[in-house]
Subunit: 299 residues, 4 copies
């Protein structure tokens, strides 16, 4: 058996079902598919310890938007994608953020194309905290939004959690939204999917190291994650190919260690997906705005 | 009289002397010129409240390196500039940082060429904190260096001081080094000067707002600043020109408000100066390294 | 008398009128003001050699759009600005470009914020030449658009004209559109104006060197320029200030040589203006598209 | 059998030998291994049509430097790598370029990390053509170097060959050096190898389209290529894994189409390799310079 790395709960559930070789209900896990604004939305809910153990993901909600129709570029595709993400985010965020403070954090490395989702998303945010401080009357009813990018351990010397915790303690937001690139398992999910979750995330991800998780437990406030799969671990792809080919005991050896797989048009894809994520976050946090107004306010 | 904005203590002292129209010793201020590694170094020391009032700068040391000879590109100019900066920084930093922790912070906007000094300097740093944590034996005797860029208020919604304070409280360094672009008054100082100080700095600078100063008082630990003048306030340059022309009561009106003056080759200059600053900081913090070894370790 | 540098014909005409100290009709120059899509548009036409000599600009049309109302960010401001630029460009371009080829060239230095107008504009273009070659039926009726950035002499070793001429001879377009940052004279025109002209442009500009002009004479095909003033020559601003102050014979000496003046929010401004210019060019070249469709196709 | 894509002649030769299942001399192909400046250098020479057919690469020299020891970061590793590349390039370049003109072209996409080798290499070049024109006496004996980046078809609408040909015809260099990222087949060659060749290169590469090759035949002057493998085609890696696992007739189906494999530290690797390539080109073209002088002149 080969180990399969994925950061998507929807794929963990698929693996689980495949392993059971039947369509049995998974214990402690609820799954639900709907269509919203023209996109398929799959909500996987881990209900209890049994579900946690079965799925390998903490208790909470994992909502996946399938954005493949977006790339057919039909009329209104961008606006519907943004509305879809905003609506789902509002369900995960604490109710009524009006005049409350939210910190949005972009994780990852802006100099590595598939890892730039977090910083690029932050570049599309409507940051309001300083404007509310200067012009409180004009911004009545707005959520107070602040934002920053954590950079990467090799450049800062600081764990993502340390940086976020330091800033959270300083400015005291009501919630954190953390945006990061993810690893998926299936090629068709790469750069076509957004996963929203109320369980936070684990920077660098996949192989969990729970000391470093960015979540309600470690920060003391709700942490909503926005994750976009842009890579497949090369060893995971190799394992899948071998399994399909019927090979069960091949030694992966040097293949794929320290390598990842990513699509050829990755530079254009991350820009588009980060814009959908950024605009979705803006509309989720500021329900009084619409897309047209927003376009005049952010990049 | 026109107001003259400068972030350089050496220029404030010049203005003061000019105002006195004699070479009288300034009360509460000591000034000293030397040559180090081929560069002129001017140390202005503000000794007490009298000096503070006279110079308009807090008590402390302000050391200016004149890098004009560097741009004649004689042999060894880079290596001597780095050694000069490193030596002066060591005088300002707490003694024996071996195995202690230092946080280096880059202020300013990487998307605005003359304001990119801070982020560019940080890109040349040898960050060691995470490596010491993983490989304590290999890094025995090294200072533990962490680094980050604050971004700008419009993008983060957070004051520079808030961000730094949050991180300082989280990771507890022994000192902070803050790197920023400055405004000078004289055209010949633009992109030719580095000012080192143990008094910290005021982000956005010039017109002081003491709540927001980044210094020992606000952070509780020594704050060493590394400042490089890259712009002149347009109103300051205009005022100087008018004064020289003998005009004393001209209404500046709309001229120069919200404008700055900067040299045509600013993109190349900020890259070179940030490299000198970054390498100087590295050698100041890790006295066991030399320039050759460092070149193989950082960008 | 101080020399006044400006790349804007509208300002040369103002200087000329001021010098005549009356509102007399200028010989060989026609000037006309209108409102289009909510923006003031001034067309200066140099008719003959007399006009050329008086204005110091070659025979041709110089159309200036005043975008100051855009920055009040009223509803539809972006869409109206794009329509205004597109409509004016169509008047300057050869008629019926359908299925003809146009080369758009971005001049300037992407690493220097106020000089990045050209490269940033090019990043917003709908480039179609390669798509028409692959899918001729789907793109019937489209103009064939190709684009590139010249870089700067210090990085390429080649004059802008050499590069453009080489590519023009290779691919044989029906017209060239050249986009560049300009120097203005008045602070209120900086980052608020677009000048369109059918006389081409002189890279690096201002102090003319006619060997290197990029125009119909040197390329053999129509050259339309799109210029956006982002800087003032520091010596020009100083001269204006001194003149207003009544000083007539001041020695500028070292002041302002090699320096330019630019606004503090230059990074945001060049991004917005480049987007207006890029979208305006797209709609001028492809009249069958509208803004909404375009937004889904370009960055 | 699966198709194996590689841009490295050394790997094509390996495949060929493996297919022959013996160590027989390959017809029309000479191969030679040496050590130069501490790095293994393999020269594969395709001698005639027989070799061309066997190897699938045109007649000419393919020299591969194995830079794995560089990443052990021993003393002098950078300087030795640069000397090694410079020495090999000099063998491929026309003799005595003093006062002759060379055009260096960077291919690829600077916004896609593994494809940024070409543009990054160009950023390290000592461009002299314009300086020689201005100061001919100071630059006596120097080669006249010009440089530019082609961008990508999707952004320019022009084939790489069209752009280069247009510029070559305009400025008339004695030779072209073309720098590009390559695809390799073996994981251990990714980001550890530089291939130099006198056969030019095929942009986008791999699956040859001979109309578009950039070589002596299409440009009329010698074309030396500097290629650095930064990716593996995902389908190639999958095929290798399946073959090793003994599977011979698996349908690759959707796996790997449009995907590539690249290492996790790709951002740091491309920067280092582009610096080695750029400095190597500089020293090959200007034998009168040494590394120390060069460091003061280029980024």
């Amino acid at each position: 058996m080969y180990s399969k790395r994925t950061d998507l709960a929807i794929e963990s559930a698929e693996l689980l079902r495949a392993a059971q070789k039947k369509n049995a209900r998974l214990p402690g896990i609820l799954s639900d598919v709907s269509q919203q604004h023209g996109y398929d939305v799959t909500a996987v809910r881990v209900l209890d310890e049994a579900g946690e153990k079965a799925l390998g993901k903490p208790v909470g909600s994992y909502i996946t938007v399938d954005l493949r129709p977006y790339f057919q570029r039909t009329a209104g595709a961008f606006s519907r994608a943004v509305d879809c993400v905003a609506g789902l985010l509002r369900q995960l965020l604490p109710e009524d953020l009006s005049e409350k403070s939210v910190l949005v954090v972009g994780l990852g490395n802006r100099d590595m194309t598939p890892d730039a989702i977090g910083p690029l998303t932050v570049s599309h945010l409507l940051v309001t905290r300083h404007m509310i401080a200067s012009l409180p009357e004009q911004f009545q009813g707005f959520a107070s939004v602040s934002a920053f990018c954590t950079g990467v351990l090799g450049s800062t010397g600081m764990e993502t959690l340390e940086l976020i915790r330091g800033i959270v303690r300083q400015i005291g937001p009501a919630a954190v939204i953390a945006v990061d690139a993810l690893a998926a398992r299936k090629t068709e999910r790469i750069c076509t999917t957004i996963q929203l979750s109320d369980t936070g995330l684990i920077p660098g991800s996949g192989v969990g190291n729970h000391r470093k998780a960015v979540n309600q437990e470690t920060l003391g406030i709700p942490v909503i994650s926005v994750g976009i799969p842009t890579v497949i671990d090369a060893a995971t792809l190799a394992a899948d190919i071998l399994e399909e080919a019927g090979s069960k005991d091949f030694d992966m050896g040097h293949h794929g260690s320290g390598l990842f797989v990513t699509p050829k048009e990755i530079d254009l894809r991350v820009e588009e997906l980060a814009k959908i994520a950024g605009y979705g976050i803006n509309l989720a946090l500021q329900p009084s705005l619409n897309l047209e107004t927003l376009t005049g306010l952010v990049g």
